[in-house]
Amino acid sequence: MLEKRILVCLDVRDGKTTKGVKFKGNVDVGDPVEMARRYYEEGADELVFYDITASAERRGIMREVVERVAAEIFVPFCVGGGIGSVEDMRAMLLAGAEKVSVNTQAVLNPEIIDQGAKAFGSQCVVLGVDALRDDAMPSGYRVVIHGGRTATQRDLLAWVREAEQRGMGEVVLNSIDADGTRDGYELACTRLVSENVGVPVVASGGAGVSRHLVEVLRDGRADAALIASMVHFGGYTIPQIKADLAAAGIPVRRNIRPADG
């Protein structure tokens, strides 16, 4: 049986890992490569790196981080943030990433999804979407960009459906309302998207306790759950979270190392 994946997200600025609340006030929490190795050894099923560097040198810095990570961890990982062209995608994939994610740039230039899927295959192209609850929109959610700072005219469901047509292979759905709150994922929003697209849906934003993951993987119908605060400084380890999920009947990967390894 296909297992539910736990993804650990690391926000990287100037080569260091940070974590913010509702996309503001980021604080440094460590070296991304060291943290990636720790989460890999604990049994993270996948890692996600978001580059939030503002400077012009960002691509070079991130490329080096990605190369170092690729040499250390042997599970898939995705890189997002500042990916605005097929060349940016290629640079990250050649540096060792399995997937690249596009968010704001895809809204501004949707063609990048088609181009990435054609060049590298859909399985490499992840769409990140930031959704804000808004009753004025047909699906009840509005797409926002620039890390939540800019509202768009796009409806969440219409956008993910369009992106799927264009060739996205997976969607990471981040609720701005829930992000960083540790109050739980946006279940209705996750379920809405899960039931309306044919590609895997990763729920993001709001995880604080294991029960939140159980809810979003079961009731929200997500294929995977993304966590950050819970393990960066929330006192949880991945084996603990997976034990809680298994106890709730959610299939997860728990045997991660040969007995003699």
Partner: protein, 202 residues
């Protein structure tokens, strides 16, 4: 020193297989020419992309013929992902005619009933008990899969491992000195590295 070759055919990103071999302490060459495929002690044959496109590149470079010759002579090969599909006779993906090292067809995953295609993520592998490729790996260990087509060998005796995803499919194949896995050992954590290490040490 052992001569380990990774078959290259332009389209595929070999980086993750390379880093896995480096971690295991093996030197390797990226093989693009038939003679490199023929003389290597071990041949890793990863695959990414469209089966038909893969076969076209392999045919043009002469590597397809080299792989057939190597297999017929009893040479060792490990196919990975699309590499486990194009060793069959044909693929439903763009009606590709394939290498024919193992009788059978690569078929499209049926999906439906909440099962998404591609099959992406960690899924359990049940292998033929006692097989050397899985030494030190417990039954039903999870490996990382990303694929839309699956190997459907004609002869059950060539099935090395099974996985369930709507259908029960052959996630591992074996014929003579060829072994192949549909999942990505290079992205399947420490058990994946163990499988690669088992292949190289065999």
């Amino acid at each position: 020193m052992m001569d380990v070759a990774i078959v290259n055919y332009e389209a595929g990103n070999l980086r993750s297989v390379e880093t896995a071999l480096r971690r295991l302490g093996y030197e390797y060459r990226i093989a693009t020419r038939p003679e490199e495929v023929l003389r290597a002690d071990k041949v890793l044959f990863p695959g990414v992309g469209d089966a038909r496109a893969v076969m076209e590149v392999l045919g043009r470079s002469g590597v397809a013929a080299a792989l057939r010759e190597r297999h017929a002579a009893g040479g060792s090969i490990l196919g990975i992902c699309v590499g486990a599909q194009v060793v069959l006779e044909r693929s439903e993906e763009n009606s590709a005619s394939c290498l024919g090292l193992v009788p059978g067809t690569a078929r499209r995953l049926p999906g439906g009933d909440g099962l998404k295609v591609p099959h992406m993520g960690w899924n359990q592998v049940r292998y033929r008990e006692g097989h050397w490729l899985f030494a030190g790996i417990p039954q039903d260990t999870s490996f990382y899969f990303v694929h839309s087509y699956y190997p459907d060998p004609a002869d059950r005796s060539t099935v090395l491992a099974d996985t369930e995803y709507g259908v029960s499919f052959a996630s591992g194949l074996e014929r003579d000195n060829l072994t192949a896995v549909q999942f990505h050992p290079e992205k399947s954590g420490e058990f994946g590295l163990r499988l690669l290490s088992n292949y190289l040490a065999h």
